[in-house]
Amino acid sequence: MTATLERVDVVRTTPAKGWSRSRARHRLTVLAFMAPAILGFALFFGYPLIATIGFSFTKYDLINPPEWVGLENYAYMFSDKLFRTAVYNTLWFVVVLTIARVVFALGVASVIARLKTGVGLVRTLCYLPSLAPPVAATLVFFLVMRPNEGPLDAFLGWFGIESPLWFADPVWAKPGIAAVMLWVSGDLMIIVLAAILDVPQEQYEAAELDGAGPVRRWWHVTLPTISPVLMFGVVNSIILALQLFTQAVVAGSAASGSADVTGSTKVLGFPENSTLTFPVWLYTQGFRYFDMGYAAAMATVLFVISFAATAVLVQRMRKATHQEEGGSGA
């Protein structure tokens, strides 16, 4: 996503005059190619974004027509205790997942990059879990971290460590979900690994001649060269954490032992609302309590925050474009 907005040099088939017909045809072709995308963007992003902001000023239950309530939904956020809990939980994931994912991906990729044999096997093993459906990945960890019976408890028992109740413990449920998220972060590892392997070999040789050991080479050569990719990892992780929904819902309902994850008896946020993330609370308000106005207000808040994160990324892409245009133009 550090993609740059490349300039495409088209052969000039459209000199100034007399060619207006081919020009019109060119425009029509672009329009034909882009038409489904433009229509789809308008229907599934443009309209619902505006409508979300509109709904956020109303009271709406899907059955009766929306009723204008001004800023009431936004004001309610300040007295809604669970809103605060949800904000806290999501912020927890933003901070922990961003740091943990980037550091973990960097660490694993650095090790794989130095392997001489078995690179393919280790890389495959690290990447495969990231393809697992989030529901399945969460249940895998639920099994491994089962209190008393699970392999992790047995493993910790060898060292005399008594395990917490993991997903049933309000303190350990979030770290449990973070563990799931690290297990499935193989895609980021592959991206970081590709960046490390792309670092020009001459730079390492030059640093080695200057007497730099492996650690200093990693710190002074590898790290600065791949920093754009790490920045991508940070933005990507923030966006991932802001959206965290499936893992929280599945972990919470599996730990609560609720019979039916999809039905009305569903327990969300178990234990003690420790897995109630912002999207989970939004979903509960909108699609369990049918308070669409309040859900829309929360969606607007989520939009503003993720827009800010996206803007940072887009700004960097713009900068990269300017550098490319101003630079050697390779």
């Binding site: 996503m1 993609a3 495409v8 088209v10 052969v11 072709t29 672009v30 190619f33 882009m34 489904p36 995308a37 963007f41 229907l43 599934f44 619902p48 974004l49 409508a51 979300t52 709904f55 709406y60 090790v111 794989i112 001489k116 280790v122 495959t124 990447y127 495969l128 879990p129 393809l131 697992a132 459906p133 989030p134 529901v135 895998v140 099994l143 089962r146 019976e149 895609d187 991206i191 590709a194 040789e205 492996p214 966006i239 802001l242 959206q243 929904f245 499936t246 819902v249 599945v250 599996a254 019979a259 994850v261 999809t262 999207p279 939004l282 979903y283 829309a296 969606a299 939009f303 996206t310």
Partner: protein
Amino acid sequence: MTTATLGSPSRASSVEARRRPRDWRKVLDWVAVHSLGLALGLMFALPILFVFLTAVMSDSQAFTKDLWPREWHWGNFLEVFDKAPLLKYLGNSLLYSLSATVGMLLSSIPAAYALAKMKWRGRNTVFLLVVGAMMLPPQVVAVPLYDTWSSLGLTGTLWPLIAPYFLFDAFSIFLLRQFILTIPQSYVDAARVDGCTEFQALVRIVVPMARPGIAATALFCFLYTWNDYFGPLLYTSEKPDQWTLSLALSSFKGMHHVQWNLAMAVTLLIMVPAVVLFVFAQRSFVKGITFTGVKG
């Protein structure tokens, strides 16, 4: 390399003198790095191994601390089909994933071509909108979309999930554009000079050359929809005959009062497509993944 040949004799001899401890250190370094690599590989693989071992246990043993099955109950993988209408869910999952992938290919390839190889005003702005849409959490637009689909009477079906792919899928357009950008412009220009229309240039030149990229994008689209949980939960949770495998798995253990062995057998079965696709298209996956992050 050129700097290496400039090495003075004194430096070369000092390297010679330090060679023995250096070799020794190199061996240690090799052992350390490779044991770390082995530990990492194990760390990623062990959870799946535990799931597999639990899946083939008997009902009563799955309830215990045991890690190794006393008897291998391979029949568990068949028994799960009696506990829940898994074939029905499988059909729904396939319907969702396959139609979404076909729709995505039809709508995204021309758009990606126009963004990568044609020159027009507003192109950069449109591309930024695509990136923005890609980053948007699906929950932000869920309320009005649900409202619209509900007024059309289509909630409780898979249509609200499939239909958008026939018009617009931000991630696929982004990824395909990145791939098509790497095709040399001269090929497209040559086709134009030879009198090809843009459509012919797309179909005859760009699509065949971008085949690996198209394959990677299709794989990601298939897996994304196969793994999707929020979409099916939002639109089909009240209609069990429309459930996908992902959605059904989330309530399989609780709803059907089964032990861990059967729950884990289903968990393994649902991961099969991902593993099979990966084994057959490993290079496409890795290429696609690196393209999302680095290239362009």
